[in-house]
Amino acid sequence: MSALRPDLAIIAREVRAGARVLDVGCGDGQLMAALRDAKNVDARGLELNAHDVATSVSRGLSVIQGDADTDLAEYPDGSFDYAILSQTLQTTKRPDLVLDHLVRIGREAFVSFPNFAQWRIRFAHMFGGRMPVTKQLPHLWYDTPNIHHVTIDDFRSLLHERNIEIEGQWFLSGNKPRADRFANLLAQHAVFKLRRK
């Protein structure tokens, strides 16, 4: 198994062996392949980019080209043990509706995203007066796929509003785990494990 991106490594560690998993925005299938190979997981993927779908399928994965914003409605309730959305929430048109689908389709869900309230980004914004461009968020404002920037506190408040329970949470600075304390200020990435109440 090649080294997984840190947020994917957390998800890969937490997923139960032999589970049924839907990876929404699965990219080139790295996480799915890791889950299949290490944990015998029955993984299915949804990915917008045709080239990434082709790469996933050529890895032997079952991946459908589609859009999280429009195609999740097709999946029945509870049809997967886990629904995973890694680094994709902030690229969707309606993150709130996508989140609703995730906890509906999966008995549990994992969501990971870059935290827009991390202090470097706050600094860049406050002192630079420009939309921040960082290592984690390297895009310029006009061509970024991240159309709905979100902070950890924003996300928590959305969960509360949508009656979604947090079953686990992990925070990262660079590749290193970090404590929950002041996560909204200090963490670059967050991973949440969720369940509908």
Binding site: A54, V57, G60, S62, G66
Partner: protein, 376 residues
């Protein structure tokens, strides 16, 4: 040893066999005997687990990767099938079968009805895509192949692959369905009807009883011309021909083929009639028009695949307006609902429906990976 030699003769190029049958047809009739023309490439492995069936499109044939005996051209899918290709005789036992109703050796309207000694003509039963598949299953029984590693097909070949998975789920490990659909739309039927009417309007058609006389080649050529437009995209036609004139500097103010696109279509029509039987065109287009995999399941496509263990891979092309991506998505949706392992991708190509027959490296990469994953 004698047995072994006898087995060998069942495999190879340009084979033809008469099977007792009967094939039980969707119309309720039984058809026998059943002639089947087919080819195989590569060897069946010891546990008979490497057989791949290639299903051809409306005017295709069994010459997938060998020279066509009438046109002298290369096989129609040498980009997908052959040494070093995703479907490789070094790894697979590849079978391709001329569909029932066609005219390249399998039973069709031009075949001799043994009860009359004359061609069936319009006495040939109206068949369906599932009927074609049932006849193919008879041949696989004859070849001693119980399970297919994969059924692969584009266009009408994809309809057969879907039908295989629906009719014989336990015999199909994987299905590759390219540029296809689970049902013919009103528009699909409409275009086919134009083609059929062109054939029937040709005075030489004579209600199909033209064998031994001149064939209705004008009608068949027009049918082919109309159909050929549906295989291309508007952008593709524009790129290839635009409004360019054919071998002339100015419009003729007449009805010659002034435009290159006219000349091209006329050539497509004329070269087609040399290799295809008009009645076969009627029967096969009818079979395609009757195709609706959901119909026997109260219109619910997912039920056609209930409990399936078959893996599916669907590919569509963005410029294909004959069987557009939405039709593939509908199948994917149904397979998802049935809990099937399904992959799907829409590839970009300017070439319309015909894209699946052309150079498409991404398509090859997907099919190769999908098949190899099933071989593990």
């Amino acid at each position: 040893m004698a047995l072994l030699m006898q087995e060998d003769t069942r495999f190879g190029l340009d084979k033809k066999i008469r099977l007792l049958g009967p094939v039980r047809l969707d119309s309720g009739a039984e058809f026998a005997p059943v002639d089947i023309a087919y080819e195989t490439y590569g060897a069946l492995n010891a546990d008979k687990s490497n057989a791949i069936l290639i299903c051809h499109a409306l005017t295709g044939d069994q010459y997938v990767a060998s020279t066509h005996p009438m046109t002298g051209k290369d096989g129609w899918w040498t980009r997908m099938v052959g040494p070093g290709k995703p479907i490789d005789p070094a790894r697979h036992c590849i079978i391709s079968i001329n569909v029932m109703g066609s005219c390249m050796g399998s039973s069709g309207p031009a075949s001799i009805d043994p009860t009359t000694g004359a061609a069936y003509a319009m006495g040939f039963p109206v068949i369906t895509i599932p009927d074609m598949v049932r006849a193919q299953a008879l041949l696989l029984d004859h070849l001693g192949i119980e399970t297919l590693e994969a059924v692969v097909g584009g266009s009408m070949g994809g309809m057969q692959a879907l039908s295989w998975a629906a009719l014989y789920p336990e015999r199909v490990k994987s299905a590759v369905v390219i540029a296809s659909t689970a049902r013919h739309s009103a528009q699909n039927i409409a275009f086919h009807e134009v083609g059929r009417q062109a054939i029937m309007a040709d005075p030489r058609w004579k209600n199909g009883a033209y064998y031994g006389h001149e064939a209705p080649s004008s009608g068949l050529a027009v049918a082919r011309m109309a159909a050929h437009i549906t295989y291309l995209s508007e952008a593709g036609l524009t790129e290839k021909f635009g409004r360019r004139l054919q071998n002339r500097d100015a419009k003729s103010f007449g009805f010659d083929a002034d435009f290159q696109v006219e000349s091209y279509l006329r050539y497509q029509g004329l070269s087609f009639v040399d290799r295809f039987d008009a009645n076969s065109y009627l029967y096969i287009t009818r079979a395609m028009d009757y195709f609706d995999l959901a119909e026997p399941h109260d219109g619910i496509l997912a039920r056609a695949f209930a409990g399936t263990k078959t893996r599916f891979c669907l590919i569509s092309f963005d410029s294909d307006w004959l069987y557009p991506t939405a039709e593939s998505r509908r199948i994917v949706h149904a397979l998802n609902a049935a809990g099937a392992a399904v992959s799907f991708v829409e590839l970009s190509s300017p070439f319309g429906h015909d894209a699946f027959l052309l150079e498409a490296p991404e398509m090859n990469r997907i099919v190769d990976g999908f098949l190899r994953a099933g071989e593990q």
